[in-house]
Symmetry: C2
Subunit: 338 residues, 2 copies
């Protein structure tokens, strides 16, 4: 089978690619070819695999050519992130809405030319949810909670959910939208995202660096590890149409965890000295944004697919440590633990 991962060079995309290549099959079919599109080239280990073909550049510039190139399956992960979309309204519309529409229309052109509708998994986001005067945010957002996005990113995600549902209804694609919870622990540097600290308060202390937590220890949020997120995307792909349950998006599992719980887990895994590198210094701007985020989520439909959140946050930290240990610069990344 021939697969496409848009955003295939990114944090989740590259991990999904590794997982697919290692397993070798998807939904019982052998993976012959894995096309990765992204604005930057994928990591070297992926490029070294003979099955991988990397195409570097904006997705929107690549969709015209895709009209004549059938795929068996697509993971559509490419996206501008929340912070970027708030700063640059056009970028968000182009990267998240227009690109998805163009991808769906490329697929539709294939089907109209006699091809088979590919299966497509779309990475939506917990950012579709938010409070609105007409609809207070429930304590836990569920599969069927009314989306009320508070960002352009969340708006574009919910719009794409609906587009994919309708292209699916018409038979142009076998689409399944899955809402990712906040994925932690992200490696690398802090980025401009308001959620950056959720990874930073674990990653920096482990590297021996002080981290600032800009919100109260009581702030709660649904989290997932990269591995469980990838598990979710694969399971949603492999689900039968019937077991996916309709055409609306589902929530992937998240562990609903308070900042205080995260730090307790950090101390449990890495010791008190590491935990003590986190300092609380309230940032009103970030605290204000985070106050509009769901404090937790449920994922009943995902549970029916056998997907469950981590038992505790220590598992998520341990996964990050194990991931880092496998990298060449492990000593640097985890020097705080020595």
């Amino acid at each position: 089978m021939k697969l496409l991962i848009t955003g295939g060079g990114g944090f989740v995309g590259a991990r999904l690619a590794r997982r697919l290549l290692k397993h070798g099959t998807l939904a019982g079919q052998r993976i012959e070819r894995l096309v990765l599109t992204d604005i930057a080239p994928p990591p070297a280990d992926l490029l070294a695999d003979a099955r991988v073909e990397a195409r570097t550049g904006a997705l929107l510039a690549q969709t015209e050519a895709l009209r004549d190139e059938p795929f068996d399956g697509i993971f559509h992960l490419a996206s501008a992130v929340s912070g970027e979309c708030e700063l640059d309204f056009d970028l968000g519309l182009r990267s998240n809405l227009d690109s998805t529409r163009a991808l769906l229309d490329a697929v539709r052109a294939n089907v109209n030319a006699g091809g088979k509708a590919p299966r497509l998994v779309f990475s939506s986001s917990v950012a579709v949810f938010g409070p609105d005067p007409a609809v207070p945010l429930p304590a836990l957002v569920a599969d069927d909670t009314l989306p009320a996005p508070q960002t352009s990113y969340g708006t574009q995600k919910v719009i794409c959910e609906h587009l994919i549902a309708d292209y699916t209804r018409k038979g142009y694609v076998d689409g399944r939208a899955a809402r990712l919870m906040t994925v932690t622990v992200r490696p690398g540097k802090p980025n401009g995202a308001a959620s950056s600290f959720f990874s930073g308060i674990i990653r920096e202390p482990l590297a021996g660096i002080e981290a600032i937590c800009p919100v109260s220890p009581e702030v709660s949020h649904p989290m997932s590890s990269p591995t469980r997120t990838v598990d979710g995307l694969v399971a949603v792909y492999e689900a039968s149409r019937e077991s996916f349950g309709g055409r609306l998006a589902l929530n992937l599992p998240g562990l609903n965890v308070r900042v205080a719980d995260m730090l307790d887990a950090l101390e449990q895994v890495a010791g008190k000295a590491v935990r003590d590198r986190v300092r609380f210094e309230r940032d009103e701007r970030i605290a204000g944004i985070v106050a509009n985020w769901p404090s937790g989520a449920t994922a009943a439909r995902a549970a029916k697919l056998g997907l469950h959140p981590h038992e505790n946050f220590a598992e998520i930290i341990q996964q990050y440590i194990d991931d880092c240990a496998a990298l060449p610069d492990a000593a640097q990344t985890l020097k705080g633990m020595s």
Copy 2:
């Protein structure tokens, strides 16, 4: 003030235009200019008003010019209808999604050039609601019922609701999306819409013509008259941002009425001989489509704006008769009543 009505030559648009011109003001401001865009010219009485400027042609072809033309207020009603969108997928995307996006971007260009964000009322639809395996349709759809559209038309409407909410959040427009209930009694010929019979079973018998009802007399649906629908659009325009309540769409009021109730009302208003012109002959295709429609709706937010459904369907029929009596061909339209 300068106003724009897209779809200003249509069934609802022309009635809204008449209402605005007759009243002369909107939200306390005098209406100096009323631009009506539509694919066909508006009725002669509107063209005869010196304040009216008609622009004929597809909205999408007109939005580029609108980037340099500020408006105080916009009623965005232009839309391809449900049946058309199911037959021609591209037409629906172009007429309903791309046109709305282009209109919003024209408004944004004005604001970015230093203009004031106009107020905009968008006519969404009860068609955003439907049943989905993951979310059964409630007996009555409310403002905050999760949309699960079963048509491309409904999908495009809910997508536009979200676009307008985000452009509003960003300050590019003061947008308010209002979901119209099924508007009856529509004058003229039956059209291809699955809902056409809701008007046909009243209009044809009144004109002395036999009508076929393709669904059970027990089928129930939320209905509104043209006048109450226009009242709703005006009230939503005139509402303060705070009284509108958030950025999500609201339901306009509908009278939840069974086909049997409609026919009882017809007999009450026009006599048994008129009612007896309706024959039941089940059409599985239409009955199947209608089975996916809400059997009723509530409109709590609209009620707070002073908007209420008709008390009974006889009022809606009487409004149609009064409307027809005001037209030159009244004798023809209502000849069944003689």
